[in-house]
Symmetry: C2
Subunit: 300 residues, 2 copies
């Protein structure tokens, strides 16, 4: 089932709005050709609905739960030459889209849990997941490209993947480099002791990261159960104020979240009052080296 | 009205438990003697209920909304010599308590929005709010004591005050220095656009900070409306998993939150699985200087 949640901010000038879509769907492990076709069909549908920036889940071309490294290796592809990325480049060019899509990347013998960042005129670059979760550590190298920010005609885009969002440093480094929106391809898994009356922790972290940095967050999760691993759904598009604009999506069903964002608001509305601004109020005179480097590594 | 929310983790060995209390109450601006008496009465009641670590709101001896600097100056006092701190030292000694209490501090001509940290054997030290909110900037100096961590027989205690909790750096620096619990005297004010069906943003930030660092958070807010400024209530004690253990308290009424914590869990349970640990997984090889210093200040 695919449903739509479209909200238009009527008070904004139309030329400043970007319709952002998060495509929550269920890739099938190993069925790479079918996953690519499925993703392209969903991209075309979102574009027909007016979406111009489209976020797809983590590892949406390969599936997530690999049995062994060889399986991940066989499913991974070089960027941007491989067939998944080529298909996304074609549809982005044909329909005038920006796409951020999770992909199993191979670079020589090294595998990365990556996202391809694509614009209407072609491939823009790669994000490689910096914080690997669980058995991903057996298959992938940790990201080695930092947290790039892409300047696009739509606005400034940064990318994080799943467990990256557990680290406030991810949001901070994106915002400090000017990102207006953090696009999050993800395969969220359940966290222990989730209360039924509260948002899932993945959503809480996204809201917190958006609020503390005055930055939009658009997270596209997958659904389904793969080789015994359940995924969380609950895709979410968060305002730069930290409050949800669309979602959380279903925990179990495929769903499209769409909302019109004025990405400039991430900069225009960042000040909280006459005195306060969440980035400028940082006490960089006091934080010291412990936050950013191993120079003063703690003993935790 | 004072109510109690006591939850005992029965499965833990009793010697490892610390009963923590957050005393949500309503200080009255300028009524310093009455505020001190009120705070001591509430401390005694919490101690009679078994509390051993007690957190009081921000500026709980003075009130919050000063008309001018001179008013703040007249209400502030030196630490630990002043009458508020002396009263808390006395009750901590008499009843064998640790107390973290928000106080208007004067050091020479400089004023600080501070917290007194007190143990059964006397004054332990001062925390000075590092991130000043709104018109506090007209009255107080920004904190100049960093984020100290106190080693106590109960466990390792760090302190943050209100807007400090908007900065993930606060939680991170406390946790990286070994804090097991972050005590938060606060005077939370409403954030714009709060949806009715979600926790207040202050609670979301506390849950996120606890989860991302595997550290308990105990926040004692005030209630009431002072010179037109409403306060939020919703005091909260958060597990090191990030989930609430007690609260949120009432948005309008005085209330005591109490819960038994095994503070060692902040260290014992920090690992999320075989591979992942929220502090050790930090990519300090990649974050660089932007996070912690002005050395590579961004242009935001």
């Amino acid at each position: 089932m695919i449903t739509e949640d479209v909200r238009t901010m009527q008070e904004k000038p139309p030329e400043a709005l970007v319709r952002v879509a998060c495509l929550q769907f269920e890739p099938k492990i190993g069925q790479k050709e079918a996953n690519i076709a499925r993703s392209v069909a969903r991209i075309e549908a979102a574009a027909a609905g007016g979406a111009r920036l489209i976020v797809l889940p983590e590892l949406c071309n390969s599936g997530y739960v690999f049995n062994e490294r060889a399986e991940a290796h066989d499913l991974a592809e070089e960027l941007p030459a491989g067939p998944s990325c080529a298909a996304w480049i074609e549809v982005a060019h044909r329909l005038g889209l920006h796409i951020v899509a999770g992909i199993a990347e191979r670079d020589g013998a090294a595998l990365y849990n990556s996202a391809a960042v694509i614009g209407p005129e072609g491939f823009l670059g790669t994000y490689r997941k910096n914080h690997l979760w669980g058995e991903e550590n057996l298959f992938f190298e940790p990201g080695d490209l930092g947290i790039p920010v892409w300047r696009t005609p739509l606005g400034r885009i940064a990318v994080a993947i799943c467990y990256d969002g557990w680290f406030p440093e991810t949001y901070r480094l994106a915002a400090l480099q000017g990102a207006e929106i953090l696009c999050v391809p993800t395969n969220w898994v359940p966290m222990p002791e989730q209360p039924v009356n509260l948002p899932v922790m993945a959503n809480i972290l996204a809201m917190s990261g958006a609020h503390s940095n005055g930055m939009f967050v658009a997270a596209a999760d997958r659904v389904g159960n793969e080789r015994g691993q359940p995924f969380l759904g609950c895709s979410l598009i968060v305002d730069s104020t930290g409050w949800p604009l669309a979602g959380p999506a279903s925990a179990t069903e495929e769903q499209v979240l769409m909302v019109d964002l004025n990405l400039a608001d991430a900069r225009r509305k960042r000040a909280l009052n006459t005195f306060n601004h969440p980035l400028r109020d940082r006490r960089t005179d006091m934080y010291g080296e412990m936050l950013g480097s191993d120079a003063r590594r703690s003993w935790y």
